[in-house]
Symmetry: C2
Subunit: 167 residues, 2 copies
């Protein structure tokens, strides 16, 4: 899966990626303005503070255009738990296994860094049913559900996957 769909993988993050991420995340139609801002802020943090930011990226590119990306990092004060903060694929690139490929690349790096548990959170709303299905297909299981967390009737669903620590 080293170059699925002719996509190139990049881990370094540059200032221009903020606009790319913003465009991609907004373009999915899945996230409201505040969420787009959070996605952009993680890129800025990474650019300004480097790996010490705790935010790591895998970016899938095609001719310099961002087809999708994932952002993950170690959870402070845990021994080996990681958060998958973000994973998004451009609508034009969806349903081609790009999300699965990015997830696999992120998990591989997490395991190589000694991570053993990957957490990802999403909403219980109907709109996120495909998202939840995607996580389940990737081997994630529901670990907790926080009722009304996002808003009344909008729970937070926490998924977890145990990954084998490498080495």
């Amino acid at each position: 899966m080293s170059a699925a769909n002719g996509l190139a993988l990049r881990e370094s993050v540059c200032a221009e990626d903020e606009a790319r991420v913003r465009r991609l995340v907004a373009g999915t139609g899945f996230f409201h303005a505040e969420e787009v801002e959070v996605a952009a802020e993680l890129v800025r943090e990474r650019v300004s503070r480097g790996p010490a930011s705790g935010y790591h990226f895998v970016l899938a590119l095609h001719d310099g255009e961002l087809a999708g990306y994932a952002c993950y990092g170690p959870i402070a004060c845990t021994r080996s738990s990681y958060d998958l903060y973000w994973i998004a694929v451009d609508p034009g690139w969806q349903s081609r296994g790009v999300g699965r490929w990015l997830m696999d690349q992120a998990e591989r790096r997490i395991a190589q860094a000694g991570g053993t548990r990957v957490y990802v959170e999403t909403s219980s709303r109907a709109q996120y049913e495909p998202t939840r299905r995607f996580y389940e297909r990737c081997g994630y299981a529901v670990d907790a559900r926080l009722v009304d967390f996002y808003a009344p009737g909008d729970d937070k669903v926490v998924f977890v996957k145990v990954v084998a620590a490498a080495g």
Copy 2:
């Protein structure tokens, strides 16, 4: 409870508070070095970015010395959920209702700001039994438990309390 035990309450945060918080948190003997760093970082973020940091403080002071403090803030991308990031009382001031007072002050401000749900997380380890009891006495209930989150055998316990939004 406006000045319990002759303590003064301060909400503004200055650069010198970082050392005070660091000393207090380390002095409880409850937190390891990485956790102390996180506590200090929240103070730095508040000092450098102000309220926009999303970190709000209530500091209980006695003759300029920090007796205890709580740190809370709105959870991004939620309508009205708040995190109680930190609450700690100097060992010399414990068992006098200072923690309860700080909790009450934080919750009051959260409700005034429109918050409806307050989340606080802690470890399942035996050492934190008094902490969990304290949250329960303050009206918090276990909302979720993430097995092995902090480390094997060390779960994350998420408590929640519904507070009445003011106004």
